[in-house]
């Protein structure tokens, strides 16, 4: 399996490389490091959101409320910044993570304690959180001139050629990678989605694991709330509308199984980057943004077909000679 995933990740990386090469033949400068860093920076928020989404999907759930969570949290910290310019940025970020985590915890509790299907819960909270953003702001905007320079500029500060926003994504990727592969919680995520019954018998609290997956997804969405508002220098009710679908698309393209239990951090990051490259390249080579949506959609379907085939191919090895062959391959 690691093999299929690895080859899949290499494949995805290859496709992205080919895309970049292709685009740069049409638009000189596309493949320059500076532009690539720009694309990565542009995709940072999607990467962070998709990693939270991945944790949730691994447990056979889905979080449709991430973009609404982002909008509410973004609005909240923007208003807080406007009202209390002297609050340090670190405090605002902690508040953003906290609000996001609480909204995620609400999803998690409804799923865990009341046993409501995640898709229904988060479809409900999607509307509620957006509504809350409206109630909080009264429908008005928070504009750049109301925000403090530190609030606005920190994510844009360049460090070694990449803005802090991009570095934040790098840090989150590393943290989530360690969490997925080196902690009990990460293993519990895979086990709970892979075979919930077996996980229960192995002493894993599946409901609780799922709850914390939602909390993680919520906290990351909250962080993205701040990042989004500061990046676009404006907060209003409809920011990131529909962005939850991008986060799901990134995970699916990256090879995360919607049935749970399968997926990797690297794959998800590549899935997000793939979408980022397309989003950035199409305007450069004069393709309408509407095509962009169609292309993203087609790629998602292709990725799902690919996933289904990869999962189907794994049969049991019963034939003796096949077993010997795989053994040789593995030892070679």
């Amino acid at each position: 399996m690691t093999r299929i995933l690895k080859s899949r990740e290499i494949l995805l990386f290859g496709i992205i490389a080919i895309l970049v090469a292709g685009f740069s033949s049409r638009a000189p400068g596309f493949a320059e490091p500076k532009n690539l860093a720009g694309i990565f920076n542009d995709t940072s928020i999607l990467i962070i959101l998709a990693l939270g989404q991945m944790a949730v999907i691994l447990t056979k759930s889905i979080d449709l409320s991430v973009a609404a969570n982002l909008a509410f949290t973004g609005m909240a910290v923007a208003m807080l910044n406007a009202a209390h310019p002297d609050l340090p940025l670190a405090v605002l970020i902690i508040i953003a993570l906290g609000i996001g985590a609480i909204l995620g915890a609400i999803n998690g509790l409804l799923v865990w304690k009341l046993g409501i299907p995640p898709i229904v819960v988060t479809l409900g909270t999607l509307t509620i959180y957006r509504g809350m953003a409206f109630v909080l702001s009264g429908g008005s905007w928070v504009n750049a001139h109301q925000m403090t320079p530190v609030f606005l500029n920190t994510p844009r500060t360049l460090f070694l050629g990449l803005p802090i926003l991009g570095w934040t994504a790098v840090a989150i990727v590393i943290i989530v990678y360690i969490m997925m592969n080196r902690t009990f919680f990460g293993r519990a995520l895979y086990a709970s989605g892979g075979n919930p019954t077996a996980a229960i018998y192995a002493g894993i609290d599946v409901g609780r694991t799922r709850f914390f997956a939602f909390v993680l997804s919520g906290a990351l969405a909250g962080l993205c709330g701040y990042l989004w508002v500061s990046r676009y220098a404006v907060a209003y009710v409809d920011i990131a509308a529909g962005f939850e679908l991008d986060s799901i698309a990134a995970t699916v393209i990256g090879g995360v199984s919607t049935l749970g239990g399968i997926g990797s951090v690297i794959g998800t990051v590549l899935g997000a980057l793939f979408l980022g490259v397309i989003k950035n390249a199409l305007p450069v080579i004069d393709i309408s943004p509407f095509w962009q949506m169609a292309i993203s959609g087609a790629v998602i379907i292709l990725a799902v077909i690919f996933n289904a085939r990869a999962e189907k191919r794994r049969g049991r090895i019963i034939l003796r000679d096949k077993a010997a062959k795989t053994y040789q391959e593995a030892t070679a």
Binding site: F184, G194, A198, A199, R316
Partner: protein
Amino acid sequence: MNTAVQTPIREPAPPAPLLEMRGISKSFPGVRALDQVDIKLYPGTVTALIGENGAGKSTLVKILTGIYQPDEGEILVDGKPVTFATAQDATNHGVTAIHQETVLFDELSVAENIYLGHAPKTRFGLVDWKALNARSLALLHSLETTVDVRAKLKELSIAQRHLVAIARALSVDARIVIMDEPTAALSRKEVDDLFQIIERLKNQGKAILFISHKFDEVYEIAQNYAVFRDGRAVGHGALRDANQNEIVRLMVGRSVDKAFPKVDVALGETVLKVTNYAHLTEFRDISFELRRGEILGLYGLVGAGRSEFCQSLFGVTRPSDGSLTLEGREITIRSPRDAIAHGIVYVPEERGRHGTVAQMPIFQNISLPSLAKTSRAGFLRSAEEFALARRYAERFDLRAAALSVPVGTLSGGNQQKVVIGKWLATSPKVIILDEPTKGIDIGSKAAVHAFISELAAEGLSIIMVSSELPEILGMSDRVLVMREGLPAGLFDRQSLDAETLVRAATGNA
């Protein structure tokens, strides 16, 4: 309709059999499921088919309903030979079966459920709702019940659903009705209602084959019996001429006592003491002590509450009452994690489905229940994890390309090794094995039994849930029998014999 049998025939002795099976044999690869079986079903008579799990009852039912074809022998209906090449053939000859768990549809109406697949049609080919409802009503009337035929099935009680299942079976002009453990999920009151219906069917002249484990029910409702053992019909006759002991003897035979002997192990001190364990709805008053190196067999009919008890011992469900002492200290188990931490593990019955996470690598599966022990502050320690996995893979001679391949790619036997390995890797004190040899061929069974003995010799205490008498008799130091959620006796190895256990489990003392 069958006018010939409209008048009730009350005396079962003289009439010709409605259905007869002669010399029926059926083999599956490696198993002779039925061997030269004869059985006769008479109109207006209930014949009880009795036998242990695996005696061949289900195979017989499947042959009678056209799902399996016999290898040899013939089936006669009204004295004329017939073949049931398909389920439809069997239905056309008036054979119908009501299964343990009849498939009904919650969202459809009673009438739709009864006539699903053969609903009356109008001349345009659409469902004739009037006829559908009228016929369903007539059918339910013939069972002397009043259920709204337009009600959705989900609105009905369990007993009413059962009626619908029976009506569905009768909707095809059935003359021969097979009931495969129809009382398994029913309360006493519902059983009484069912028996009234069977009485009515009997009076309508139908031949009924009633399959049950429960002797009191058999004596209450049936006139004739047929006993199967290991695929053979070992006895039949009128129930009024046979007492229960004779039937029990026929059922268990004499050959089972010395199979699968457990290796003698000197029993150590008491490890686990269970006192008055109870659950609100599933079981009550379970008490026993388990010593080091001991195998406690847990015997009972399917649905006696054995697995439910074990699951609550393991923390999957919470007991409502009772206490637990492990090595002299009182403990409470709130979750499987607690149980594992205390050294109590549970190897579930369906090891294929509940045992492993198929997509996960072998080493992660083996270490899964031990992670709480091998991880530190929530962080996994891969070196230890791998060492643990390698130790148990070697111990069980696990054949795999590498420990990092997913368990799902292994053969069934090797997956079983992973399951056993992952539980032993937790270094348990008490291991609960739920039907350890279910669905395993004879050769592998012996290996599993030898292995269980080995574990006991190493000082593990074992609770072995099993429905197979030979296994229970051969392996257990003591046997706790459960019946309908209550303890029905605790027997020492010296006083163990098949008849005593079956009597305790079926409830005739």
